[in-house]
């Protein structure tokens, strides 16, 4: 039974308890042991990286160093946390001077970054360590082939040499639930979350373009594996009627919600009622 250090970050616990709960339940069913990390806080987000590179390096190196006490890999459900942790991990593996500098700070807490515990996104661990075959065995209520558009999220896909993630991972995970993956032209495009603090209008426009592209390609649902992307595509959808006079009514599910339902959990188990755009209609697409 694979064990992991679970790094929640700040956004999922505060804004997406349904994501957190669905992930924990799915993981348990599939035999992944996730243990909340002790004594950790925020990853700082790309904003901290932008203004305070050394601070960003140090806080994330610290998180990795805490994980290294038991040596298990870190998994996180947030693309932002994943990007920060994995980028720092990658950077410190290749930059001895910064590693020394960071470790000098961490030493005060009795910690050291060694580069043993690898930061990973939850969906990648699911795919690589449990595998499609094992997941398939647990699917009791597969979806009826309904079309789902995947928003991968920039920070798991790129830069590829750092993230080591490929779109096929997410596609296979959606297919195993019985859904059809919908290709749409803007699949690579950003959800806009990062520029939300500096240019809200631009951020909303990016989210809107994405939703339009997905809907026009025939998606009935969309899925994300990141709270920031979820915010942009799900929550922001509600404001589009006012700003653009457009209504997409495209339910956006966190991936473990879809998987959980296909594994036979009910809608309360995965917190379906907390999704901003009503997502209850996915129940109609489950087959026995």
């Amino acid at each position: 039974m694979p064990s992991y250090n679970l790094y929640m970050g700040c956004s999922v616990p505060a804004n997406y308890p349904n994501y957190e709960a669905a992930m924990l339940k799915v993981a348990k069913e599939l035999g992944m042991e996730l243990e909340y990390m002790e004594g950790v806080a925020c990853c700082g987000s790309p904003n901290l990286r932008a203004i305070d590179f050394m601070g960003w390096l140090t806080v994330n190196a610290r998180t990795i160093a805490i994980a290294e006490k038991n040596g298990h890999d870190i998994v996180t459900p947030c693309n932002g946390c994943f990007a920060s942790l994995k980028d720092v991990y990658h950077h410190l593996k290749h930059d001895d001077a910064h590693k020394k500098q960071v470790n000098a700070v961490l030493k005060k807490e009795g910690l050291e970054f060694k580069g043993i515990s690898k930061p990973r996104h939850f969906v990648e661990a699911l795919y690589s360590d449990i595998g499609i075959e094992e997941i398939q065995k647990k699917i009791t209520k597969p979806l009826d082939g309904v079309g789902i558009a995947i928003h991968y999220g920039c920070h798991v896909l790129r830069p590829k040499d750092v993230t080591e993630f490929s779109p096929e991972i997410y596609q296979e995970l959606v297919k195993v639930t019985g859904a059809t993956v919908i290709d749409y032209p803007l699949w690579k495009q950003c959800c806009g979350a990062t520029v939300l603090p500096v240019n809200e209008e631009l951020a909303i426009r990016l989210a809107r373009d994405k939703l339009k592209s997905m809907t026009e390609a025939g998606a009935v649902f969309a899925t994300v594996a990141c709270p920031a992307c979820g915010n942009q595509l799900d929550l922001q959808q509600l404001g589009l009627k006012e700003s653009y006079g457009e209504e997409y009514n495209l339910p956006v599910l966190l991936y473990p919600q879809i998987l959980g339902l296909a594994m036979g959990m009910d809608e309360d188990d995965v917190g379906l009622s907390m999704n901003r755009v009503p997502a209850g209609s996915i129940i109609e697409h489950l087959t026995e």
């Binding site: 700040c10 957190e20 806080a41 987000s45 904003n47 932008a50 203004i51 807490e109 920039c154 603090p197």
Partner: protein
Amino acid sequence: MTEADEKDGPPVVLVDPIDMSKLDSEFRNEIKSMPYGDELNACFACSTCTAACPIANVWTYKPHQLIRMIILGMREEVLSSDEIWLCLTCFQCQERCPQKVRVTDIFFDCKNLAAEESKIPETIVGLAKTLMEKGQLYEVTADWEREDMDLEPAVPGLSTNEFKDIIKATRTGKIVGGEE
């Protein structure tokens, strides 16, 4: 300098060139010495980064122009530009760059240089404050929602003091608490 140079008013000819000797020729080396600037000089100006960027059409300076400006030494213009802060950090430019210039990462380096000179958008300073005061960007406010999902009301394992201490000692501390 001759007397004529010091005179104000329009230049003698219509083309008013950027005087290369007034640019900061060391700027490219400054960026190169930063964590992601290794391949900066490899840029061959193909503009793939701009073709890949989903928002460059609303930028005054396009990504390939910013890289060009760095190479030419237009330090002030780059570090004061809105564009570096508007970058989505989606890494599409960097991923497609045929010469492996780490375009997005270099914009992060530029933001750090700008931050060192206190050229930071107000909203980002606000985020820095939040990070330093609360140790996280989001706090659990609706703990009943967590309980509804059978989760502990408080996030297990969360401890923010160490985080705050670290960034207080780095640049965030300077940005937020300059007057303290």
